[in-house]
Amino acid sequence: MEPLYGVLDMLVLRSLLFGPLHGYAIAKSLRDGSVDVINIEFGSLYPALKRLELKGWIASKWETSAHKRRAKVYRLTPAGRKKLNSERSEWAGFVSAVARIMNPSSE
């Protein structure tokens, strides 16, 4: 299942909440976290990274890892953090609205 439009951005931002990651690590964390329910192709993830970077929500830097591997690492910017928070509350509102429609009796 492909994520809803805009949700991908939120998921990427979320994956960077606890520290900088490189592209492959982001892909892995999204795949692991979703337990294969949501299938995010790298082909969609990578353009999203570039888009978020252009919007100034994430920033990137080349770093050399412990294994002497060079990789481009992305981190959240303050603007990105703010964006993540607003997305998160919007998402929560959306989910509860959908839930109310799907299970009207659960109130």
């Binding site: 490189h22 592209g23 492959y24 892909a27 192709e41 790298f42 082909g43 969609s44 990578y46 353009p47 999203a48 990274l49 570039k50 888009r51 252009l54 919007k55 100034g56 591997r69 060079r70 990789a71 481009k72």
Partner: protein
Amino acid sequence: MSMFFRRLLLLLPWRRRAIDQDMRDELRSLADMAEPGELGNLTLAAEDARAQLGWVPLEQTAQDLRYAVRTLVRAPGFTLAAVLSLAIGIGANTALFSLIDAVMWKQLPIDDPEHLLTLEQRTATGAAGGFTYPQYEIFRDSRSGLDLAAYGYARVDVSIDGVDEPAADAHLVTGRYFPLLGLHAAAGRLLDESDDRAVMGHPVTVLSYPYWQRRFGGDRSVIGRTMTITGQSFTIVGVAPPEFFGVEVGVSPSLYLPVMMQPALLPANGSLLQNPNVLSTWLQLIGRLQPGATVPQAQARLDSLAGTAAEWRVRDKFTRQFADVRLVIASAAAGLSDLRRQFSRPLFVLLGVAGLVLLIACANVGHLLVARAATRRSEFALRLALGASRARVMRQVLVEGLVLALSGAAAGALLAYWAAPALVAYASAGQEPVILNLSPDVRVLGFTAVVAIAAGLLFGSAPAIRAARADRSTGVRLELGTGGRARGDRGPGRLLVVAQVALSTVLLVGAGQFARTLQNLYRHENSVDIDRVIAVKLQPRGSGRRTAASAPSFDRTYRELLTRVDTLPGVASASLARSSPLGPSTLGFLITPPAGGGPVKLASTIVYPRYFATVGIPIVKGRDFGGDDLRAGAPRVVLVNEAFVREVLKGSEPLGTGHGVTVAPLGVRFQSQGAADVPEPLNIIGVVKDSRFPGLRESPPPMVYQTFLQANTGSGQMVLHVRASGDVTAIVRSLSDLVRAIDRDAPLPSVHTLADEVNAALVRERLVATLAGIFGLVAIALIAVGLYGLMAFTVSRRTSEIGIRVALGATRSSVRWLIARHALGIVAAGLAIGIPAAWIAGRLTSRQLASLLYDVTSTDPAMMVVSAAVLLVVAACASLLPVQRAVRIDPVMALRRE
């Protein structure tokens, strides 16, 4: 930083390359980490990422551009024809627009130009005038809230270190002039209030920057040196700033001098500062509002001065009434300009004509593009079949059009850069040079760009739509096979040529009217040999103020001069007149008709004997003035023209005094003969033909010719007229020497022939007629090319059809007729639209054009017939070659090719 700017920065090619490289590195490093194939298609990911950065449309446009340039370069003949057509069209428009810009809109290079004002006296008829010095003083001291300065024009003789220089244009300025304009000297200082205190007390001058560069090579040490101006020594105190050319558009004085030095600089008029002459309104006024003042307040204050002790209005010499003039305060942000009044309308008319030329050029290029598109149908069909979107194919054709248009615009701008000054030079031929600031500004560049883009879209749209219509499935098969013979593609090409013919009809009718106007103005009766009549303005010292005491001495000077001129070899006859025949008559003559009633004011002029023979006006009855009539105290006699006999005497016998018309007594001083307060019979000794010189639009009014001593005038200046028996140039030199002898201090006399004067008077008409004529020729050439192209294309497409017809027995003449009919049909359709369009255009513009036409109406049917005939001839010539080719088609060859 907003997204937009970040995207914009990404457009920089080196940044794009760096980011591309960075993405490649990153993807490679990621691929190293992941399992093979785990990340999918990385090239596609990079492509999509690039799309996120907004590059795709840009890259496609760049591709389109590269491709357009490549295809255009591969068809040099087509490209050259198209770019040349556009260059002429756009160049003509840009040149005219930059002239209009310079004359109408460019602001003066001064401090705060928006708030510079000018003060004018306007008569009821709208004619604007300057002021006398006392009028300026009244306004300056009126506490109107206006800070005023004045300047007047003078042409002065210059000599430096005892060597005579060419005469220079000067502005005589008041002390507030430069401070008011807010200018700062390029070197030394400018004139200020300290140079405006005592009459004849400030022999200092400021050089204009161009004059300083031209004459002194920009040498700073000239400050403090002296130069002799009109016989008086002046110290150079400074140089005006480089961009400043005075406040009048089209005039560029070399020297700025204190107005207080006027008596020395304009010696013919005496001191206009202390003894003003009401006729010498030689000063122009500029001003700014003082803080807190408003224009209506200032206007009201100045208006209230009329009728007070500080009355500024001039009294009419004859009626003693105050002249009916109003003061007008207007903006002078773009400078004062006589040029603007004279040329704004012709320039806009010409811009309209140039617009037509551009439309015709666009039609031509569009037509060429359509023809090309037809041969490229298979290419478009293939591209569509391979998955290109219609928008993409259309865009590519449009980009090609824009590339053409922009190349045309660049070439056109170059053309305009050369043509605009050439036009100015042409318009000012034989007159004072007109100096205009023609450097392209934002307005001109913007105009050119808009015109070019509009042109590109205009002629690019037809082929673009056709390209997108190319059929994707059947197209490839058909078009690749037979090289293009679909039926529908005759339409737009033919329509464009029809449109061209229609536009040219309108243009040719217009151009014809201007040419006829010029012809009509040149074809007056007195146009014989006017290139052999020389006119020289004489202004001996003091002649600006003629008095009863000084008149006889001027008369003596003039008669002696005439005697000497008569003895010069090569002179057929010589005489003097108050003004040249084309000049305005400023002299009035009051008569009382026999029927009674009030006195009537007629136009009059002063002439010496043999004037009529010299300028070529025949005496139809009676005699010329003779030596006896020039004596002091001789009985008053006059000559009149035929209009006088017709309108004043109603055809009764003119000679003698029997007609009963009397000279009305003058309420003012009569300088040469004392007061003439009793009505005196008008003694007419001769009648001359109405003088109809080329260039004059009105038929001559009733006119009275008087002798110098008997005329009532405050001015003693005359114009020497000399008819040369042979070549004019041979006697000009000796003539100037004789004239110089009258007054050594007067500026070098300007010597010109009446033909020069006519040309100068008709400069507007010549400019309009010449340019419209050139545009007409260009239009004809464009049409010939367009029609030839269309016919050649038609013949080559119908080769097999013609082959079959010939094989089936069609004669040569029927083949010829087949093709000719096609061409004629197109021209006929064009004319059917063009002639009514020309008529409508003529009706709509008749009011605007009225002042530019003479003896021609803007809907002249003859002109339409001529234009139609011209276009038919052009069409016949243009289709000659294609028709010949059609006739020579060999049926066997034609069918085999199929």
